[in-house]
Amino acid sequence: MQVFKIPESIKKGSKFTFCPGCDHGIIVRILAELIDELELKEKTICATSIGCSVFLYDFLNIDCIESPHGRAMAEATGVKRARPDKFVFTYQGDGDFASIGLAESMHGALRGEKITGICINNTTYGMTGGQMGPTTLLGQKTTTSPMGRFTGTYGYPIKVAEQIALCDGTAFSARVAVDTVAHINQAKKILKKAFEIQLKGLGYSFVEFLATCPTNWKMTPDEAHERVRNEMMNVYPLGVYKDITVEDK
C-alpha cells in the first residue's frame, strides 16, 4: 500500500531548499496537492515574488513569471487580463505583499481581479537575514529592531487578511496556519475555497498563511510553531474575514 506520494505538480527530483522547520515547504505542498486535485496544472500561471518565495518555480511544475519585488499582483493582473481563461495566483512573503507591494496588493483587490493572492506571513524578511518587516510583532527583536519593535519609532504591524477583506472587490479573505495537522487540513480547505472562487469568477480571493522562520527567529522548529500559536495568533487571529458566497445566503 502506498502511504506517501509526491504531488504530480511538484517537479520530479526537486528538493526543497527551505531551512529546516520553515513552513514554506508545507504550504508549497498544499498548493501542489490542490493544483492536482482541481486539475489546474495546464491552465495555471503563477506570479512569484522576491524573497524566500523566489524559487517557487524550482519546485512547482507549472508556468511561472518572476515579479520584481512587490509587483506580483501587477504581473498577475497583466497575465489575467491578457489570458482571462487562465488560473492565476501570486505567492508572496509579507514584505513583498504588504510593504513594498501594498499599493499593488490593495488595488488588485479593489479592482476585484479574478486572481488568488497567497501571502506567507513570518513576521520578518527571511531571505536577507531577519530584518523588521510590516508584520513584525510589537516587542519582536530583529536585526533592524534590535531592542524590539516599539511603536514610537517603528509603528504598528499590519493585519493583512483584515485589510484585504475591507476592499469591495475582495470575494474571499482568510488567515490560516500550518502549525498542526488540524490547521494544515483546515488551511488546505480554505485555500481550495479561494481557488474555487477564482474559478467561478467571483472576484479577488486571498489567503494569508502564518508561517515560521526558525533560522531568523533563532528557534527550533517546535519552538517556532509554539510562537505561531502563542504570539502570532493573538495578533493575527485565524479565520475567514470575508466570503461573499456565505454573505449572499
Binding site: R71, V79, R81
Partner: protein, 355 residues
Amino acid sequence: MDKVLVKGNYAIAQAALNAGLECYFGYPITPQTEIGEYLSDEMYKRGLGYVCAESELAAINMVLGAASTGAKAMTTSSSCAVSLMQEALSYACSDEVPIVLVNVMRAGPGLGYIYPAQGDYNQAVKGGGNGDYKLIVLAPSTVQECIDYTYKAFYLAHKYRNPTMLLADGLLGQMMEPAVFGEYPYPEIDNSSWALTGAKGRDGRAIFSVATAEDTQNQHIYNLFAKFKTIEENETEWEEFNTEDADILLVAFGSMTRNIKAAMTELRKQGLKVGILRPVTLSPFPSKRIHELAAKVDNVIVVEMNMGQMVNDVKLAVEGQAKVDLVHRPVGQWLSVEEITQAVKNVLEKSYASV
C-alpha cells in the same frame, strides 16, 4: 489609403491597435495622456485588456505580465514617470519579454515641466535601470513616423524578445499632421516556444532573471549582448541627406530633425556644403555610418534639445576624424531654423556654440 489629420498621441494609440495590441496599462501624465484616454474606449469596445493602473510601477509590471504570455502589450508615459519604470525594463530585458513602451518626453530633471525636450536620450539608450542591458529605441520625427515606428516597435520587440521604446516628445504628441495609417505591415511572430500559456502537454516553464550561479549569469549576459549584436547588424536605421559632397554633417534625432533639414537647405543656399545624418534607431546607434561619413567631412555638428547627450555617442563614432560640436538648448522652444543656421556659422568661426 486615406490621409487623415491626426494628433501624434492619437496616431500612436491607433497604430498600436492596428498592430494588434491586446493589453494596455497606463497612468496619466502630460503630454501623453490622450493615448490612455483614446485606448480606454477603443480597448473596451474590442473586449481587450485595459487597466487604469495605480502607478507607473504597476503599469509597466502589468505589461511585463501580459507580454510574458506572448500578448502584444504596451504602456505609455513621460520622462519622470518613465524613470519609475526602469526596474521593470531591466527585468524585461533579462527575461527577454517583448514589451513596448512609449516615452513622450517632457522636460526634466525632476518634475520639470511639459515643454518638449530630449533630455531622456541617455536614460533610453544607456539602460536606465540596473545591470548590463539595452533597449531597442526608435525616435520618430513626424506624426507619420509615430505610426510607422509604433508598428515597427511591436515587430522588433516580438522578433527579438527585447523591450522596445518609442522615444517621442511633447511636440510630436500634441501636434496634428496629415498621416496615413495603412495596415500593420509586419509578419506575426511565433511565440509558442517561450510564452507562458499553462503547462499543457509539457513541463512548466518559468520566466525569470535570477541566476545564483556565476557562470549562468555570465553566459546569460553574453547571450543577451550577442542578440543585441544581431539587432545592430539587422535593424540599425538612419536617414541621410546631401552627404555625398558634404563638408559639414548635421546630426539630430526625433523632432529636432525637422529644423535641421530646413537649416541645411538655407545653409546650402548660402554656399555651405551641409549634409544630414539622422539616427532613427537610437539604440542600436548608427555608429558605423557616422564613422564612415566623419572621414569625409571637416565638421560634425550635433543639434539636440538637452545639455549634450547624443553628442557623446557621435564623438565615439567619429573617433577624432572630424571636429565635433554641439548646438543645443535644454528645454523650451525648439531650436529654430534661424538659430541653427547662425549657430552653425558660429561653430565654423569658433570652436563651440551654445544657443
